[in-house]
């Protein structure tokens, strides 16, 4: 597998402009002769499908939900970044580019990040034209907030539902094309195989989740925008259906998987309340602006928080980071919380969680001010946790939230399989080892609206794609494979449920490949996961048949892939013998618990090649060079 | 298609037709109640009013002409109103073939559920009412041209009066939800003042109902009508 990033030559500011000129164009009259499959209807997939249809290509789009509008992008709350500099506070494309490279702890590709910052402007214009009701000032102009510790106010938002509004804008553009007959939408269809013919991605095999029918779809090119894999941890802030299946199937067909160990843990989620917990709910990080994080000093202290005197409380973040205190960065705050719980000082019924206390803030500012700042968040907390955060401190705990790793792509967002393009959270993206808040929506839309439609055109225009149909042997074989797997799942008829096994996988990864990792733990995980996978294939029980809606069967398929993928994740984490962003190796930290990068040996993207289930994957490197942003270490002292 | 006829095409359009015709009927009912209040001012005034209805528009229109125009409009309104009601009712039936086992009606007011049956009873009432006070077929002693006499004599009968009073309940509900519903259907909507739409609909409905009920009660209680001699021996073979 050779990795050619195809980064255009020239100064960083001109690369994309120059590249757009160098790309081949498809004659407008010929566009409808080309067909494209887009898997995913989130911000990336929805935008790509709609835009390519507008350009005239024949597009078919797939999602596993009952409507493209329900893609997980809908859940994004905080906002979307753009270097509009509408606040005149010194923002610029270059600053957004710089912040993103630095925030990614110098593990992203400069050229891509710059393009992302460049395109951020057009995204906001496009969204507003579609009628996305962003927050506005009384003058009628757009409002901005500063997000995730950014020094400038560049985040655009629509109440707490920015992702929803952006996705609906994108969904409406997509529905417009569906109505016009230019996009064929396949709801409740799950991609279960990628079909590669003569070394090019030529189609997919899907299962119709209602009828169970296994279908082949052929096209001249395939685009995957299937989101992230945080659900490998079982408990995450992602929607229940989020999966690695599409990406993993592609990986098994030859697409390199980059940096799978880069996962982001969000520090302020609601803690799990018990074994029944099925997913975790995110609470906005802004809460840390006024809340104080603490745990009891003594282990197993079960007194209600109100009865724990001041001198028996440990405000550990303020203790460790006197200057940053409770605003210490996501990864640091998360790791410290887990330490406390591991020391047996966790709080709440499950002992998993730490307090986020507003008592002092309420005394200082008054209840009204706090209510005005966080009212809706407090209500949400009260509804879920059943406690009144104005009286009892909130309980929070870190949760897997976002995955920076993904299928490796070149500057054209094409994977190592010609014709297979990847956008959004599913690719290894522009975020390096750590994503800044409000940057994922930006990336998904940049990929979907402005990059993929052009780079796909270039790929198609270069020709060499011969006409085939779904009778081709490769499709038959892929259908066979899917049918086989499905039959297998249904025939095992063991003792354990899919959820039960998924929970166990999650626990293993959370323990050994979560916020803090070390060689010994990762090796343990690398023994436990294959064993669990074996048990799965012998002892899982998937009821019913494949002839109609069977959610257990869907989940089984996704878990089967997580059980293979989880192993790769640990491999990568073990191999990356440094700490970088979301990947924290306990062996590599400064005395104050800071991630310690090793730019000497690891200033590269690790791209893994699949060699067979249970076989050691083969690593390829894309060396990363930093010509514009000088390598530097973060410090929060 | 454009213009009023185009309204018939869509469900929303049909509702707009219903609202318009409904409001016409509404206007009649209110005006009719107000007009009838003159009964408290004695025979002359009342009969003069009844006569007035007929000579209205004079000399431009000949006697009764304009009244007929009004009648035709009313009749047309009732037909369109009912026609639309029936069509929409069938649509709503077809929209949920499989009923719920358990279903809480979360509607703002239960009046909205009485519209169809309420309407039908109103229709029945009007027919009876015409036979009673306009044509006199069901009137114990009907004197053509003496509206006041017919009025008083008519309500002297307990069952008839009770029937009138009873009929005012569905009417009131129909007017109450009808007006609020018409506000919505006609898009009379201003977030700053919307909170007044319901009370207003309620108030008008109450006024009409109380006004209408006052007539039979006034007659039965003898508050009015002592100037009309007890029914001169009605012959009932």
């Amino acid at each position: 597998m050779e990795l050619n990033a195809r980064i255009p030559a020239g100064p960083i500011q001109d690369k994309w402009t120059k590249h757009r000129f160098d790309m081949k164009l498809v004659n407008p009259a010929n566009k409808r002769k080309y067909s494209v499959i887009v898997v995913g209807s989130g911000l990336a997939g929805g935008a790509a499908a709609a835009t390519m249809a507008e350009l005239g290509y024949e597009v078919s789009c797939f999602c596993y939900q009952d409507s493209p509008r329900r893609a997980h992008s809908i859940a994004a709350q905080g906002g979307i970044n753009a270097a509009k500099n509408y606040q005149g506070d010194g923002d610029s494309i270059y600053r957004l580019f710089y912040d993103t490279v630095k925030g990614g702890d110098f593990r992203a590709r400069e050229a891509n990040v710059y393009r992302l910052a460049e395109l951020s402007l057009a995204i906001i214009d496009q969204a507003v034209a579609q009628g996305v009701p962003f927050a506005r000032e009384y003058g009628g102009y757009l409002a901005n907030r500063s997000f995730g510790g950014a020094q400038v106010s560049r985040t655009f938002y629509a109440r707490g539902q920015t992702g929803q509004q952006l996705l609906l804008g994108c969904y409406q553009a997509l529905e417009r094309q569906i109505g016009a007959g230019r996009v064929k939408m396949h709801n409740r269809h799950e991609m279960l195989e990628l079909v590669v013919v003569d070394g090019r991605a030529r189609g997919i095999v899907t299962r119709d989740l209602i009828s169970g029918r296994i279908e082949s779809h052929v096209a001249d090119a395939v685009v995957l925008c299937t989101g992230g894999y945080a659900n490998v941890f079982y408990l995450s802030t992602n929607a229940k259906g989020c999966n690695v299946t599409a990406a993993w199937r592609a990986h098994k067909k030859g697409a390199g998987f980059a940096n799978p160990c880069y996962t982001q843990i969000h520090p302020t989620s609601l803690p799990p309340a018990g074994d029944h917990q099925s997913k975790l709910t995110l609470m906005s990080e802004s809460l840390r602006n006024d809340g104080r994080v603490w745990v009891p000093k003594q282990q197993g202290d079960t007194r209600p928080p109100g009865q724990i005197p001041e001198d028996e409380r440990d405000y550990y973040l303020e203790r460790y980071y006197p200057s940053f205190g409770n605003l210490a960065p996501r990864d640091i705050a998360s790791r410290r919380a887990k330490e406390m719980v591991d020391e047996g000082r966790g709080v709440g019924p499950s002992g998993i969680g730490v307090y986020l206390d507003f008592r002092d803030a309420i005394q200082r500012l008054g209840k009204e001010v706090i209510a005005e700042r966080y009212g809706n968040l407090f209500d949400m907390y009260a509804n879920i946790a059943g406690e009144n955060p104005y009286e009892v401190p909130m309980r929070i705990y870190p949760a897997p939230h976002y995955t920076m790793g993904g299928l490796w792509v070149d500057y054209n967002l094409m994977s190592t399989i010609p014709g297979l393009h990847v956008g959004g959270e599913a690719n290894f993206s522009d975020h390096g080892a750590n994503r800044l808040g409000a940057s994922a929506l930006m990336q998904g839309l940049a990929d979907g609206y402005f990059i993929l439609p052009l780079t796909l055109g270039d790929y198609l225009a270069r020709g060499g794609i011969d006409k085939i149909d779904t009778d081709h042997a490769a499709f038959r074989a892929a259908e066979e494979a899917v049918a086989e797997r499905t039959k297998k799942f249904l025939s095992i008829n063991g003792k354990r449920t899919v959820t039960d096994i998924h929970r166990e996988l999650g626990a293993i990864l959370w323990e050994y490949c979560g916020m803090a990792r070390n060689a010994a733990g990762l090796k343990t995980a690398l023994e436990k996961i294959p064993a669990l996978r074996e048990e799965f294939w012998e002892n899982v029980r998937v009821p019913g048949d494949g002839q109609n809606l069977n959610q257990q069967l869907e989940h089984a398929g996704r878990l089967a892939d997580f059980l293979e993928f989880g192993e790769l994740m640990c491999h990568d984490a073990l191999d990356r013998d440094e700490s970088a962003g979301g990947h924290f190796r306990e062996e590599h930290q400064t005395e104050d618990g800071e991630a310690l990068r090793n730019d000497q040996d690891f200033a590269h993207a690790s791209v893994w090649e699949f060699k067979g289930v249970g076989q050691a994957p083969v690593k390829h490197k894309e060396e990363l060079t930093f010509e514009n942003v000088p390598l530097a270490t973060r410090s929060y002292k | 298609m454009r213009g009023v006829a185009a309204l018939g095409e869509s469900s929303v359009g049909k509702k707009i037709l219903m609202a318009t015709t409904g409001l016409i009927l509404y206007g009649f009912v209110v005006g009719h109640m107000v007009g009838n209040l003159k009964v408290f001012l004695g025979p002359e005034v009342f009969n003069h009013y009844a006569e007035g209805l007929r000579v209205f528009g004079d000399p431009f229109f000949a006697r009764g002409q304009l009244l007929w125009v009004v009648r035709v409009v009313l009749l047309f309104a009732v037909l369109v109103h009912i026609g639309a009601a029936v069509k929409l009712w069938l649509r709503s039936r077809a929209a949920r073939r499989h009923p719920y086992k358990k279903f809480d009606n979360l509607a703002f007011s239960q009046a909205s559920r009485t519209m169809v049956w309420g309407g039908i009873t109103i229709l029945a009432f009007v027919i009876f009412h015409l036979m009673h006070l306009t044509w006199g077929n069901v009137h114990p002693d009907f004197v053509h041209g003496d509206a006041y006499h017919n009025f008083i004599a008519g309500f002297r009968s307990w069952p008839v009066s009770l029937a009138y009073i009873a009929a005012m309940i569905p009417l009131g509900l129909h007017l109450y939800h009808g007006l609020w519903s018409a506000f919505q259907t006609m898009g009379v909507n201003d977030p700053n003042n919307n909170q007044w739409r319901r009370p207003l609909a309620m108030a008008i409905a109450l006024v009409v109902v109380i006004g209408n009920i006052s007539f039979p009660i006034a007659v039965l209680s003898g508050a009015i009508g002592d100037d009309v001699p007890a029914a001169t021996a009605v012959v009932v073979e």
Binding site: D125, G140, A158 | S11, I16, R96, Q184
Partner: protein, 252 residues
């Protein structure tokens, strides 16, 4: 806590359905309603049965995938709450619950509590958008929008497309859903050019999809997890009237 569930079971779109009774035992009051069903399902599977099918994805009240009636109320008894955000502490030990799918000709049952809501997508596809092809947009500040409009549009745009309004409506009408979109786009300057064609086309599709008409019951607003107001229905009605009666509604 322990509860008794009567759940609508239907093997497939064309199959006969019936209510089955299940015991939900040892349910934590901290679990969400769907987590309670997860527990019940785990039991059913262990006993060799087929679990209850219900749609869900985000479990955060935003994707609009979940939804069924609990004791006759869409999304259960709590205002402004989807069933995935409804927590069991709102029920008492020993409660008896009836779980029923949305019932509307336009929403055929797929299985158990899961229905097909694609009709909503077709309503949007027939006009619920602003035709702004990618790349055609002017600068976002080219057209200022009064804050009031942006906010009022946002309140309509919050619709999550769950279908509870249809489920709650005695006429199985999709007016609130449709009006929310017509209202959202019609309140913004960008939405004006297509304002009148949009409302006509979306209402036409709504009718074709076999939704009922609106008789202004208001149950939809009460059931709506986003508390979308029926005021938007009044707006739609007005726009439709203008569109149908005026020859060229855009030219005043």
């Amino acid at each position: 806590m322990n509860l008794t569930l009567h759940v609508w079971r239907q093997a497939g779109p064309d199959a006969e359905g019936r209510f089955e009774t299940y015991q939900a035992e040892g349910i934590s009051e901290h679990s969400s309603f769907l987590e309670m069903l997860d527990v019940v399902n785990e039991r059913i599977i262990a006993d060799g049965g087929e679990p209850i099918a219900f749609d869900h994805d985000c479990r955060e009240g935003i994707c609009g995938m979940c939804g069924f009636l609990v004791n006759g109320e869409p999304h259960g008894p709590l205002p402004a709450t989807t069933v995935c955000q409804l927590h069991m502490r709102h029920y008492q030990d020993g409660d008896e619950l009836w779980l029923e799918p949305w019932r509307a000709t336009a929403f055929p049952v797929i299985r158990d509590l899961a229905v097909n809501r694609s009709a909503f997508d077709r309503i949007i596809a027939s006009g619920g958008y602003i035709s702004a092809a990618t790349g055609s947009a002017p600068d976002a500040h080219a057209v200022p929008v009064p804050k009031e409009n942006a906010e009022y549009a946002m309140s309509a745009a919050e619709c999550i497309g769950c279908g509870a309004c249809v489920a709650a409506c005695p006429n199985a009408s999709a007016m609130l859903f449709t009006a929310a979109k017509v209202g959202h786009l019609g309140l913004l300057p960008q939405g004006q050019p297509e304002r009148y064609t949009r409302v006509v086309d979306m209402v036409a599709t709504m009718d074709e999809e076999h939704f009922g008409h609106c008789t202004n019951h208001g149950a939809c607003q009460v059931a709506c997890p986003k508390e979308i107001s029926v005021d938007y229905i009044a707006r739609l009605n007005k726009d439709l009237r203008t569109a149908k009666i005026r020859k060229s509604p855009n030219i005043r």
